[in-house]
Symmetry: C2
């Protein structure tokens, strides 16, 4: 049988980002934590953590964490069946796109968080990277744009998010006085969420433009809207997130009719317990 | 003389998060990019990139990138002096806290971005980690809570952000019917930004509570506010960011009079060129 005390130490070190903090959380000394990690590595015959460039689990460590998370979810079902067992609130690690977190996610899961007393551990990832995290066992479920389930997992279409290329009116007048054109795209600074964000490229390709374009990088959804509203750049923003600014005329489309629709799929392991099942049931009734 | 063609390849690979995308951006094949990285590693006698767990620069790679960024900033000044030289828009990599990005940052820098034609590369880091990035040469400047400048750098107090412990009225009534108490803190799920976020701990210590508390993890400033508004947890939210929800009665303080004030300092290298100087000048006139 696996020694879960050791896995608990590993999970806490990864969650806290360090041995000292993990010790604080678990009420143990840093050296006690370090001994548990070492014991795990000796049993496994390989490292479970890398220290550089940042503290992170190795692929073997990730596999252990995935197992630990699945066991926790199964234990939760056990506690439902045998309520006299003492029960700790489970932590549900989910990867999802930043735009969902700042729009519909909280309202959709609020009921479940309260009734099930579940604690969320949200990992913000651009659409395609979350699925890799699920495959690596780093998260229990993920919301992303990919429609194909991975082996052993299921996937549910929860809705679509529609994006518009938005900018402040003065920015639009300055850089797109005659609407979208190759010349304008070459000069107008865009805003891109991060290196994995392909929305801007998709939008330009849809407009028939394939060349270089200048861009700011801003890995914050709401920061993105603030940069656009302040006239610093234009970018692909969820219509839902910008509703207020569109209404107030603070943001306008630089290419009306050239929006993008991104489907969102909920990916989850087939045997991940009743909590994920209930969350999935909730998401299946969503109207985005 | 350093071969800047190789540094450019390194910077592009790191920025794009991969060799293939870097090739697309630079108009080169993936193998051409790979050869440049290899050439750089041969000259240096050590690796500049690690592939696992994610593509990232080694400490030596970071040092090269810092140098490349400083040279770019100096070149910008050169181009100002010799305008006939062809000029590319500089990219300014800055680490700052998520709460600044979603509140005052965009309005404060909009003018400079437009007049200087600078492109931003924002790195979102919790207060204390940004300074480490500046020290590592990963960013040209950083906004954080630490008042002490590092060697070779200067620092400017730009203002203070005030945080309140906020929750929805129904959450407050359910978990804090008699205000803050050790018993309530033990049970009420908090919301924490990430493992480096110490605000929640500071708040609890200020209330005289040192024990364990349940918490959700949400590394998105705006997502944080959404979770609180939906009644999923309570958390330390900038007063400025929640102004609307406070006004509308959607969020209330669970411990009035127990807010926290976090000072913000702008850290920058002493010899980082006129653009950083002008940005610093702008930030020195800020009223947060």
């Amino acid at each position: 049988m696996v020694d879960y005390k050791l896995l608990h130490a590993l999970a806490t070190v990864v969650e806290c980002g360090g041995f000292e903090r993990a010790g604080d959380v678990m009420g143990l000394s840093q050296s006690a934590i370090s001994q548990r990690i070492k014991a795990l590595e000796i049993r496994l015959g390989q490292p479970v953590l890398v220290r550089h460039p940042a503290l992170a689990p190795t692929p073997a460590g990730q596999r252990l964490l995935a197992h630990y998370q699945q066991v926790q979810l199964l234990e939760r079902d056990l506690h439902d069946a045998l309520p006299s067992l003492e029960k700790a609130a489970p932590r549900l690690r989910i990867a999802l796109n930043a735009d969902s977190v700042v729009t519909w996610w909280a309202d959709a899961v609020a009921d479940i968080c309260q009734t099930e007393e579940v604690l969320l551990d949200l990992v913000i990832e651009d659409q395609e990277v979350g699925l890799k995290r699920l495959r690596d066992g780093d998260v229990a479920a993920c919301l992303c744009a990919t429609p194909n389930p991975i082996a052993g997992a299921r996937c549910l279409h929860v809705g679509d998010m529609s994006y518009q290329p938005l900018a402040s009116p003065s920015y639009a007048a300055r850089f797109f006085p005659e609407g979208p054109s190759a010349e304008a795209f070459q000069k107008a600074p865009a805003i891109v969420f991060g290196p994995h964000d392909q929305l801007q490229h998709q939008f330009l390709a849809q407009c028939g433009y394939q060349g270089h374009f200048p861009y700011h990088l801003c890995p914050s959804s709401e920061g993105f809207v603030r940069l656009a509203t302040a006239g610093i750049g234009y970018g692909m923003i969820p219509q839902r997130q910008a509703a207020e600014q569109l209404q107030a005329g603070q943001l306008v489309s630089i290419a009306p009719g050239q929006g993008l629709t991104v489907p969102l799929y909920w990916h989850y392991w087939r045997h991940s317990g009743q909590l994920i099942q209930r969350l999935t049931e909730r998401l299946s009734h969503l109207t985005l």
